[in-house]
């Protein structure tokens, strides 16, 4: 198993420090296998983005993980042998959030070690990804920067061109600034950035928002064809139905249903999932 999220509970403190905290996630649990494309479905405000950002330790200042674990099948380089297996001393010591099977609890990691795993093992394609490229630098410079952060010896230029080529973008795009790319190209460039360090898991938060139908389909095909596992976070049921092998449905901060996409959409056991599916059907969607 690549990722095992167990009872993840997150709350946001009220602004100004007074007032009751708002619970955004309550005991959310789901698993992701290596190489699988899974979907996380939920309407706006259901806690999807909170879950995605909690995984990579990028919650807002007001957000805090109350309890739970997120076991990722990877170990920070500082705690591992050259072959990537965790050191015996690390496993034996409870102070390290590392299990004997080589999984690390992302939520309990100190920030400097979590930074080592971000992008190298778990990459986040943020919401509004079209703005995720700094207008001051070329696409290539930004991908090279991320690659070098995790592998100082890597041929970052080649990795950048390869990542763009994998998503059907010309290698010459490395020399272009974001404003010289179309919206779809920018979206794919951001995805290429996420791919550049060959992470085991890509968490894509609403990656199809704002894209036209053709570009959206192209991006979904790209996501489905990746070797890495993908957690596709979206309110777009059509996109998830097309792409995800397994589906988890979030409602009001709780995972109300999980299972193979066919089962979840074919015979939903939760009324909220059924309502979402029915709303999609009314809009012309179909599940066979």
């Amino acid at each position: 198993m690549l990722l095992d999220i167990d009872s993840l509970t997150v709350r946001y403190r009220a602004s100004g420090g007074d007032g009751d905290p708002v619970r955004a996630l309550t005991d959310a649990s789901l698993t992701i296998e290596h190489g699988e494309t899974d979907g996380l479905l939920g309407e706006s405000g259901s806690g999807k983005t909170t879950l995605a950002r909690a995984l990579v330790g990028l919650l807002d200042d007001a957000g805090e993980v109350v309890r739970g674990h997120a076991w990722l099948d990877a170990v920070p380089p500082a705690w591992a042998d050259p072959d990537g297996t965790p050191r015996a001393a690390v496993i034996a010591d409870d102070a390290y959030p590392v299990r004997a099977d080589g999984a690390t609890d992302l939520l309990a990691l100190p920030d400097e070690h979590r930074r080592d795993l971000r992008w190298a093992e778990i990459a986040l394609v943020p919401q509004r990804a079209m703005g995720a490229l700094d207008p001051a630098y070329t696409v290539g410079a930004q991908i090279r920067e991320a690659v070098r952060r995790h592998d100082a010896d890597a041929d970052a230029g080649r990795r950048a061109r390869d990542a763009l080529a994998r998503l059907g973008l010309s290698a010459t795009r490395v020399d272009h600034h974001p404003h010289e790319l179309s919206g779809g190209e920018r979206q794919r460039a951001v995805l290429a950035m996420a791919l550049a360090c060959d992470p085991a898991l890509i968490v894509a938060d609403e990656p199809t928002t704002g894209l036209d139908a053709v570009t959206r389909d192209r991006l979904l095909d790209d996501l489905a064809s990746l070797d890495a596992a993908v957690l596709l976070v979206s309110h777009d049921l059509a996109a998830l139905a097309e792409t995800a092998t397994r589906l988890a449905v979030l409602h009001d901060g709780r995972v109300v249903e999980t299972g193979p996409t066919a089962a979840v959409l074919g015979a939903p056991t939760n009324p909220h999932t059924a309502a979402l599916r029915d709303a999609w059907r009314v809009g012309g969607g179909a599940w066979d």
């Binding site: 971000r118 070329t138 290539g140 920067e145």
Partner: protein
């Protein structure tokens, strides 16, 4: 970085610089400001070449040790003269020194005070504003409370106390101006940083695992620099005005040639109303230099605006 990537980054940076330079050079006010700054800089760097006389030159007797006659003394301050009885195109002060010469030698003080105070306040205010805006939390709280307290310190009494402790030197005046000017830098840069750190590309840089100092240096600072540059030139202008004011109030070093001291001498000797050739040049010089800094500041803001 591979050679090709390095070449590419260098060429895009070069084209950006060319574009910025072209925009700057097509802005008339920027050209006026730059011209004024150029003239003042020439005066500051080589006053001996630009000024018509040495600073020791005195009307009628020049640089010799000769004494003025009673009639000659009574003719001072002398209006502009172009060779008869002496050459002083902007006239003289009551002590017989050429106003143009004093003006040229005072340029160095004006520029030094402006740039030193502005650089000092930027060096303190910009990093603190960046830290305050980027890290937030207790770092922000501590820095902003210090700023709040220092905002309450009145400028003039503060300078008077500082001058009483350290003496009325140019360095004291620069320190006094910088000690208050950095506050504005810090507050404005903090606000700009707060808006930048919410941008998606900063979020993406965090998600890529980049350390905070690298995110600040690569993705936040470039967007803060235009604001910081504008603040720098505004601070320089404010510092020049503040120094002139302090000199006029007698709180500056009167042994150093400066435009404010020139004004103060006119006032102290009672020639404010009868020697316009003495009063107007330093006043206009201060106003021109301050305006030049503002013009250049606005042009820099325009050139570096990425939106």
């Amino acid at each position: 970085m591979t050679g090709r990537a390095a070449d590419c980054d260098a060429s895009t940076a070069s084209s950006r610089t060319h574009r910025a330079l072209r925009r700057f050079l097509t802005n008339p006010l920027a050209l006026v400001g730059t011209a004024v700054l150029g003239v003042v800089t020439c005066c500051a760097l080589a006053p001996g070449v630009v000024a018509p006389h040495d600073p020791e030159w005195v009307a009628y007797v020049g640089t010799s040790d000769g004494r003025l006659t009673l009639a000659q003394s009574r003719s001072l301050p002398h209006p502009p003269a172009f060779g008869d009885p002496f050459f002083a195109p902007l006239g003289t002060t009551a002590s017989g020194h050429g106003v143009l010469t004093e003006l040229v030698y005072g340029a160095r003080t004006a520029l030094l005070v402006g740039l030193a105070a502005a650089l000092l306040s930027s060096l303190v205010g910009v990093p603190l504003g960046l830290c305050s805006g980027y890290y937030g939390g207790w770092v922000d709280g501590v820095i902003q409370r210090v700023v709040d307290v220092l905002y309450g310190v009145p400028f003039l009494p503060f300078v008077i106390v500082l001058v009483a402790i350290r003496g009325a030197s140019t360095t004291t005046i620069v320190l006094a101006i910088a000690a208050t000017a950095w506050l504005n830098n810090c507050v404005v840069v903090r606000g700009t940083t707060l808006s930048i750190v919410r941008r998606t590309y900063v979020d993406a840089a965090r998600a890529a695992g980049l350390p905070a100092h690298r995110i600040v240096a690569r993705h936040v600072l470039p967007d803060v620099l235009p604001v910081a540059a504008v603040l720098l030139v505004q601070d320089a202008a404010t510092a020049i005005l503040a120094h002139a004011t302090l000199a006029y109030l007698g709180l500056a070093d009167v042994t150093t040639a400066s435009w404010g001291v020139l004004l103060q001498q006119a006032q102290a000797t009672g020639h404010v109303f009868d020697a316009p050739w003495w009063l107007l040049p330093p006043g206009l010089a201060i106003a021109s230099l301050v305006a030049a800094f503002y013009y250049v500041g606005h042009a820099v803001e325009d050139v570096t605006d990425t939106d």
